[in-house]
Amino acid sequence: MSDTWLKAAALEVQEYVRLVAAACRGLVTPPIYRHDIIEQLDEIGWGSLTVVVLTGLFTGAALASESGLTLDQFGARPIVGRLVGASMVKELGPVLTALMLAGRIGSGIAAELGSMVVTDQINALRALGTDPVRKLVIPRMIAGVLMAPVLTVISDFVGIAGGWIVARFQLQVATGLYWSSITDALYMQDVYQGLVKPFVLGFMIVTIACHVGLRTRGGTQGVGRATTVAVVAGSVAVIAADFFVTQLMVWLFY
């Protein structure tokens, strides 16, 4: 039983690596389907903006509210901005944005590609001379890698703004104090860390969803299963990759 499970797991990893390798090769060789890339940039970037903004806003606000209570115990309420800024930029912005993307685009990609597999559309693409990796995976991969950092920066900013609303109107911290404590506490290493993470997380979410979608078997039930697996595996991969990237960045910059 465990033997079979290990073989299946090894096969999944092998197929995932093969897909990623094929996609990376396809990035530098023609044909490139430019209009699909634009379409996916719009779908993944613009399409995810609302959910990312809302997540960032409420996370930043809740963080300010919670940390305000804790800081009060030390009489340090004025430095609430320092805590909100560092937490959002280094950790919560990238991770929560990535988790939202795993839910929204990870499930969408797996369901779309899975449906195409079970209705023979992927075979039809191949029969018509189109490589599904170039047509379907690469545009999504490029869009995921480019849009995750953009959305993360927006989420960071909106989160800090959400924190300011709570700090100003609930905690009664002066606006100038809030913003200056953020800039005082943020170092370039923190910004690098916050910017590198979404590239990795965006890549993982999209490639895992594409892999799971393209390996869908078993009709509509299989599509449902693939969607669930893409979200669960994507979310776990986000948390795990976040830990490893953090370790790497700490080792490199601190």
Partner: protein, 276 residues
Amino acid sequence: MATAREILYETGAPVVLFDHVQLAFDENVVLQDITFTLAKGHTKIILGASGSGKSTILKIIVGLLRSDSGVVWVNGGRVDQLSEHDLMAVRADLGMIFQEGALFDSLSVRENVGYKLYEETSRPLDEVDRRVEEVLGFMGLSEHIDKMPSDLSGGQRRRVAIARAMAFKPRIPLYDEATTGLDPITATTVDDEIVKLRDLEGVSSIVVTHQLRDAFYIATHMAVRGRDGAVEIVPATPEKADEAEFIMLKDGFIVFEGNAEQLRRSDDPYLKTFLS
């Protein structure tokens, strides 16, 4: 000495050749020993019960599946050995019509039919548009050009799938259950299109079906142009009927190979049961 490519231009050239092909999915052996040849301009009609491996043969021809052993030549290339990249050149001459149509549901009828020309060639857009309109007109689907596949009936979807496969003028169309599930009138319309393409465009076709009525109709009819230029479907001459060869699959083997008349007269109990 003529090369494999040059031989393909000769009359009666073998455009598809299966030589002792085997394929199994884990324990399930689908094809045990399949050997046949499709000659240029001829039609091969593959019959068999569900699950007998008919569609698998088409997928092997297109290179969507690889045989476990044996040799498969398609249009001068060994598709059992070619890489996915090299298969693209072979596929340029193959037009596969899938069982359920396999239309791209996010694209309109126009985009579906012109997919290969729009995406995989550098032809001018207006030229592609003209070709798409021409093929859809040929299929009697002109008024549906801007609809989405979900807005079409089953028969219309099947005809759009044929139009998509025909738009780039493949020399070998492959029909996978093109008429299954259609009413007799729509099925006859699709059969007529298959006959017209074969006789007017000179393509070599493989028709996979378990609809005997359609199989015999395609084998025993031919398309001719009348004096006024209109295309008519008429009973085939004996010579033309001989160009349609039947293959019957059973348990991964070919249990019959011959023309329509030989199939009708066969004494084999399995064939008799199948034909009854």
